[in-house]
């Protein structure tokens, strides 16, 4: 259970550029939910993810994970239970290390990074098997530097790496936005498969309304720091893309776009 309680966040407080993003923002996400979050630019989607992960500080409020207050905890500490995939494929992997080294370093998450061997040879077969499920041919490129892979391959690897170890939350920040439509489709299907297999609570920010409608069991639409549409379960299944589009266009017109 993840709870955001009375979150307040201002950007540039005290200056002319002061921007109030969240005012008494509240959100509850139950265990096992796959939440798709949509909304226009500046609506606070990514800021919300950053607040959950501790990448940006809040002015006041509480972030509770299973009742425990996380708001004072540092970002790396919170990430121990969070897997995160970014929009930029290069953020989820180490470009100068090879695939095997990348997988090994991710496999050790939550344990101590001591003076033991970085690559555990005994796990290589297991990594190969995980990679072969991606159907991207990466299992034959274990010793290839990740920097020379394509964006889609890197994003698939990043997704795999972020979900290798037991995590409580999977945070997806527009993770298909930088990919071509076909690759985006592959990554999205892969995401769905992993989320179902691991039954991990997932929050996915996306600009693709079709993905938001097709995938996940809850949909949120955000606008100017508020949730203006929240449908889950059966209600979400009934939802048509046109309906979402209608609401979306309405708020966009209000903004003068």
């Amino acid at each position: 259970m993840l709870e955001l309680i009375n979150i307040n966040k201002n950007y540039n407080p005290g200056s002319v550029n002061e921007l109030c993003l969240f005012q008494n923002f509240n959100l509850k996400i139950a265990d096992g939910e796959f939440v798709a979050v949509v909304g226009s630019n500046g609506s606070g989607k990514t800021s919300m993810l950053n607040i959950i992960c501790g990448s940006i500080d809040i002015d006041s409020g509480k972030i509770a994970v299973n009742g425990e207050d996380m708001s004072g905890k540092r970002d790396f500490f919170r990430h121990r239970k969070i897997g995160r995939v970014y929009q930029d494929p290069s953020k989820g992997t180490c470009p100068s290390m090879n695939i095997l080294e990348n997988m090994s370093i991710a496999d050790n998450k939550g344990k101590k990074y001591g003076l033991g061997r970085g690559v555990n040879k005994a796990r290589t077969e297991y990594y190969r098997e995980l990679l072969s499920r991606l159907n991207l041919g990466l299992e034959d490129k274990l010793y290839t530097q990740v920097g020379s892979l394509s964006g889609g391959q890197r994003q698939a690897l990043a997704l795999l790496m972020s979900t290798m170890t037991p995590i409580e939350f999977l945070i997806l920040d527009e993770h298909t936005a930088a990919l071509d439509p076909k690759t985006a489709e592959i990554i999205m299907e892969l995401t769905d498969k992993i989320v179902r297999e691991k039954r991990v609570t997932t929050i996915m920010v996306t600009h693709n309304l079709r993905y938001a409608v097709e995938y996940g069991n809850r949909i949120l639409m955000m606008h100017e720091g508020n949730v203006i549409l929240d449908k889950a379960g059966e209600e979400k299944k009934q939802l048509q893309i046109e309906e979402i589009m209608g609401v979306f266009n309405k708020i966009s017109v209000e903004c003068g776009n």
Partner: protein
């Protein structure tokens, strides 16, 4: 022959320092100027200890530890006090000038008649008379090889992987649930430990400490790293640390050649700087044509 020997000796001593600079500059992407202070600090500690009768072999370990401590200070200034990387190094470099004077007690401390790692009863006994010209270069080679293999070994541990990751993409280190600041501090500690160790060996080879001997160390280190990594990039059987070592030898060779061609030794630092500039410019050109991926942020 003497020229070749002295290039090899100095090149290999500076190679240990260059390995340290490689960690900060290439891996951590941190231009660390602390080096200009930690190199003479290694020398100052060594001369002080040897003058007061400490076993020369022991000074190798003591100077490494002292250098690591200095690296930790630079890291704390940068990570905890949020001072920019370049400035953290400048602060430490300036502070170390005084520290070095305090350690040595004066600006110049010779150890001419003392035992060193190159000149003591044991070493003089195992090397036959005819080999004594080569003993310095052989001992330096042994120390350099041990250092290089230890560093290579560390780089393939889990902790070493994190170090490589933090310079590559520090976001992933946070994603792995590790404090990236801590990883940077560890990297700076190892780097300055190596630099200080290099200063220790240099002092024992030259048999003195001088307060100004650190000036330009970082330039020599950077030049070695850049020559090594760009020139030997395509040579697959050389790993990156070997390339840095070769870079250092090559750079020392170039400087020695310039002096030999008739430039007065007074111009040494100027030659060092100009040569570094040439390497930087040529290096940039290669990078552009090579079409390598450019790291954003």
């Amino acid at each position: 022959m003497t020229l070749l020997l002295s290039v090899l000796e100095q090149g290999m001593i500076y190679a240990i320092m260059a390995l340290g600079v490689y960690i900060t500059y290439k891996i951590l992407d941190f231009p660390d100027l602390t080096v200009d202070g930690s190199f003479p600090m290694g020398a100052a500690i060594t001369c002080m200890l040897i003058a007061s009768g400490v076993n020369p072999l022991l000074t190798l370990f003591i100077t490494f530890a002292a250098g690591a401590l200095v690296g930790i200070c630079t890291g704390l200034i940068h990570v905890k006090l949020k001072v920019r990387d370049l400035l953290s190094g400048i602060i430490m470099m300036t502070a170390l000038y005084t520290v070095n004077l305090r350690i040595a007690g004066k600006a110049n401390l010779p150890i001419y008649n003392m035992n060193t790692i190159f000149d003591n009863g044991f070493i003089n006994a195992i090397f036959p008379e005819g080999m004594s010209v080569y003993k310095t270069v052989i001992i330096i080679l042994v120390i350099l090889m041990i250092t290089k293999y230890l560093l290579d070994g560390y780089m393939s541990t889990k902790s070493g992987f994190l170090l490589r990751a933090v310079g590559d993409n520090d976001i992933i280190v946070t994603s792995l649930g590790v404090d990236k600041g801590l990883v940077k501090i560890v990297g700076l500690a190892i780097a300055n430990g190596l630099v200080s160790l290099s200063g220790c060996i240099f002092a024992q080879q030259q048999r003195y400490f001088d307060i100004s001997m650190g000036t330009g160390t970082v330039v020599i280190g950077l030049a070695s790293v850049i020559i090594g990594t760009s020139l030997f990039k395509k040579v697959t059987f050389l790993n990156i640390t070997s390339s840095v070592v070769l870079g250092s030898l090559l750079y020392k060779g170039c400087v020695a050649l310039a002096i030999r061609m008739g430039l007065p030794p007074m111009d040494l630092k100027l030659i060092t700087a100009v040569l570094f500039l040439i390497i930087l410019v040529v290096g940039m050109d290669r990078k552009r044509r090579g079409g390598r991926y450019v790291r954003t942020n």
